[in-house]
Point group: C4
């Protein structure tokens, strides 16, 4: 669990108090992945059963949500584990045939733990527009830089050579808008993946509303956001916890069978 490090000197200065209750319980990686999927589904990453998130593990395996389930029903117990060839080695569900692109990116980017793809509502609009949405507010600017606009999509993402081409096009970038095919986001951990995903969807939604109204004034001098943009690296304090906590509050089953059993045991 990537709670803001209390040993981080800046956070110790800014937020010295312990809080009235724990912001989140201790979470397993499977629980974090399920919570991320649920939280993003609520914000527009909701194209039925589309979309996958891989989470690299220290032993070289990857956790991933199964092919069969929608993001809003996923629990920690449903998360499967694949090896570096995409073969399921733990769990009873199946892996998406589109796992190839995820693995190809993980292979090239050891700085990353999370690779995420979905057809988010507002991301899709810009994916068909031929443009990257401008940054129209501070929240849109929490993550610096424009997504790459990858326009060489020529088929589904399950073919090896297409996966290689796409991973090469991503290069060292943090996010992409896939032409006519949604968004692609990578991150060093779940917290960063969450911030990048909600920031991109917010940016896409707001930009659509601003430009539908008429002339807008984007923020061009992104240097002004130097402080805010530290959040992408250091973690936006408390934000991921609040959004994950909401999912647990609305449906504790997201934490999986073990959590339920352990809760029942206590009750």
């Amino acid at each position: 669990m990537e709670a803001p490090k209390r040993s981080n000197p800046m956070m110790e200065k800014l937020a010295p108090r312990p809080g009235r209750y724990a912001l989140l319980p201790e979470l397993t990686p499977q629980q974090e992945l399920a919570l991320l999927a649920r939280a993003l589904h609520r914000e527009g990453y909701d194209d039925h059963i589309a979309g996958h998130i891989t989470l690299a593990q220290p032993d070289g395996t990857f956790l991933v949500n199964p092919w069969e389930l929608a993001w809003d029903e996923l629990t920690a117990s449903d998360i499967i584990r694949v090896d570096s060839t995409g073969t399921v080695i733990e769990g009873e569900w199946n892996v998406t045939p589109a796992i190839g692109l995820h693995l190809e990116v993980h292979k090239r980017r050891h700085d990353l733990k999370v690779v995420l793809h979905n057809h988010s509502r507002w991301g899709l609009v810009w994916s068909a527009s031929g443009r990257v949405p401008p940054v129209y507010d501070q929240t849109s600017g929490q993550v610096a830089g424009d997504p790459i606009y990858y326009d060489e999509y020529t088929g589904t993402v399950d073919g090896a050579s297409e996966a290689e081409a796409a991973a090469a096009a991503l290069g060292n970038e943090k996010w992409a808008i896939l032409k006519n095919h949604g968004v692609f986001i990578v991150a060093k951990d779940i917290r960063q993946a969450h911030l990048r995903s909600i920031t991109l969807e917010h940016r896409c939604r707001l930009a659509w509303h601003v430009e539908s109204l008429g002339e807008g004034h984007p923020i061009t001098d992104l240097e002004t956001f130097r402080v805010a943009q530290m959040s992408d690296d250091l973690g936006f304090p408390f934000l991921w916890e609040a959004m994950a906590r909401k999912e647990i509050r609305l449906d504790p089953a997201v934490l999986g069978d073990e959590a339920t059993t352990s809760a029942e045991r206590k009750a």
Copy 2:
């Protein structure tokens, strides 16, 4: 129940695992029809009590949702059965006077089991626009081809000759946008009807957003989607199950009295 055939060689290769739980319980045709109506209502097929779905049965009769009920309250126990003249032969509710068009299409298209009409939110927008929405993303392209734009609507659909004219205009097509009157979709089974209905609504919604923003880049070379479009024929793996499962999770009563009774019996 049209679960993806595990005997389908491609699916056996792609999804060999049995899953942590059954994707759906065994369903009667009445339960499938009620689940389809509920799932589509949630996605925009929600014009009050408008809309009907007929499901041809092997004995030449048809199951249909009753005139009196909205799609979001329908249960399997409410589904009525009509004969080939549209006379109710099972169930206590009444049949819509608009049954004529459904029966006329069933008469001409023995390849079809499902005929569906409603005034979906985004379908209506394009039904008034005079245009078929372009395909702006992969999800919109899951079902190949443009709907016909049937612009000779000259009254309600309960008159026999109008029904014949409309059925003739549909010909061998799979879907239509009815000028100023919503959408009309036919399919070989519930699964295909579901995919076509959600795909058309998604396509209409996305296209509206893209074109409201300004210039968009539709996908014109639909050959690129040859893989995705196999889903229309073979069934999009796991998707119908996930959406039907959600309806059962949110309101188990959708399965009808018998299901409830049988569940109570077990409890």
Copy 3:
């Protein structure tokens, strides 16, 4: 309760079956009024505590929702009764100061039982646009004719002379868009008020979406809807019942204390 008259020969022919359960319980006028407010709130008549509905009674008094409560919390027990001067003669809540316009219309239109005003979401958009929304689909055409566009609003509606002017401007019409101030709808009964209110909001919403997209094709020959438009007079079969039933299902408390007490008594 205005259930479709089974003694109506057309309905007896079209819908001879009794149904699997009663479409609605017997309702008092207070229950009908509360259900109408709740159903309309759900469809966009939701500007906080704005909006009033008066229902003329045979004894010359009027039932009305109180000033203090929002439409989505109203129960039958909250409905108050005023005399022809607007003085509360039954109930513990207060009457809106804007009752004057309602009473003025009732005084002139003995063909009417219901007078309704609110700031509905999509009605407001057109109220500021200077135009009446065209009829872009069959559902929008269920009620014939264009609302008058009353543009002489010069203050709040609680002054007597303004009320007289507005009532005179309405004349024998059935509905109006009030410039910069929402909609005003009159009807012979609750069922007709419901159909007119949801039809106007649907018409306003769809027309906005069509015109935001670009050129639309309105229905100009409304004669084509002669059948559908019988619904305004005769009652759209089953529709009001379905929408009222939904409110009872979602919150039985809408029926008021007496209903609850009587239900508890049975239990």
Copy 4:
């Protein structure tokens, strides 16, 4: 609790009846603040954990929602207290680093008790447009005057000199649109803060819809609203109570631990 004063002669004349039940229970300042945050979150003040509300207390301290929690999960027990330097003196949560601007405004404006900032959905759209939304309906005109458009935002709001500049720019005004950064609203009490916040969001939302459709007709002679605008000063009767009541009805936990305990004690 700022219930409409029954000793107010106008209200005694307009609303002489006591009501069927109390419009709200007696509320502590902490409960009022939590209810305001919840009610506004529901109307679009919902950018994750963004946004703060300070409520000046007679002893020179300030109540404020903590940094860690989203507005839709806040309870009265979570509200913290800071002194005039922004140091937490009561409560276990932490205060936002952006407290500086709030305190700077409180220092200059002793007529105010409430200072509120958030990134509301429709407020953001206009904050990027370079324009103040016109008043397109009566509801938008409940609060007189145009927000100032503060376009000198050059960083986050946690720096002292930026806070001073912003507070100086606000001057004696009641509200501001912050360029690319949402809205800023001040008020003499919770009731007025609520009315101003929902009015601004309504105004922003409606204006967007009107202008997206095409030419609109704003209300320019705001004198016509002289009556309605008394609400800003005197309190819009019953409105705050209804919206706060809704939050209590949907989640009584908003009132905090003490309320729950006391309710349990009675049960």
